[in-house]
């Protein structure tokens, strides 16, 4: 639990099981859904998926940044960034389930630096006692 990575393959498998289409066509449908969302965002449109969340494009002004290593000032050009706002339904579902089962998401630092997530389940009171922890 809680350490699997879902990919396009999983999504197309769900589509395959939901409707009687070929695997190939299911894969294409997943791709075209993602592509339609990306295209709308590229046009500057907001994309709202009810009970999931909304994606919006935000314009960032040009600003002066700094190379953290050298302290050198570098201009950061104005750009557009994507923000995802999860819907309340998604937030509640994620929070309720994980809080209930006390799934612990721990931060691990990978070799290359960026934070990676792995998860483990907090041992029950029983196992903690056995280990003399609690």
């Amino acid at each position: 639990m809680a350490n699997e990575t879902i990919t396009r393959a999983h999504l197309s498998n769900s589509v395959y099981q939901e409707v009687g289409l070929s695997r190939n066509e299911s894969t294409n449908l997943v791709e075209s859904v993602l592509d339609e969302i990306a295209a709308a965002l590229a046009r500057g449109e907001m994309v709202k998926i009810s009970s999931f969340g909304s994606f919006a494009v935000r314009k960032k002004q040009e600003r002066v940044g700094r190379n953290p290593k050298t302290g050198e000032e570098v201009p950061i050009a104005s750009r557009q960034v994507l923000v995802f706002r999860p819907s309340h339904v998604l937030k509640d579902r994620v929070n309720n389930y994980l809080t209930k089962f006390r799934v612990k998401l721990t931060k691990k630092r990978g070799a290359s630096g960026p934070l990676q997530k792995s998860a483990r389940i907090v041992p029950s009171a029983h196992t903690r006692n056995q280990r003399g922890l609690s």
Binding site: I6, L11, S32, V33, I37, V47, I49, V94, L98, K117
Partner: protein, 96 residues
């Protein structure tokens, strides 16, 4: 664009499919992602972005209106990081 508009577009691209099947397909995609996040799993869609769940520790917050201290319980929040290709696409860089 809303979910129903997305369904209409996908339906227009696939005239051989029934509208209600397209609806089921789009719903199945987002349901699968929701269920994964619910379990704490990560959803990684190369080129598009990745959804993950972040843990937020409990903290003492403040009621901005009254200034009184309030305990904010620990929580898990869904998070999205934009993929490189999509980020470039938003800034009109053409993919090589």
């Amino acid at each position: 664009m809303t979910k129903s508009e997305l369904i209409l577009r996908i339906a227009a691209l696939n005239p051989h499919l029934y509208h209600r099947d397209v609806e089921r397909i789009v719903t199945a995609i987002f349901d699968t992602m929701t269920e994964a996040l619910e379990r704490g799993d990560r959803v990684e869609l190369r080129g598009f972005g990745a959804f993950s769940v972040k843990y937020r520790e409990s903290r003492v917050g403040r009621n901005p209106r009254t200034g009184s201290n309030v305990v904010v319980e620990e929580k898990y929040v869904p998070f999205f990081k934009t993929g490189k290709d999509l980020r470039d696409r938003l800034n009109n860089f053409v993919k090589k």
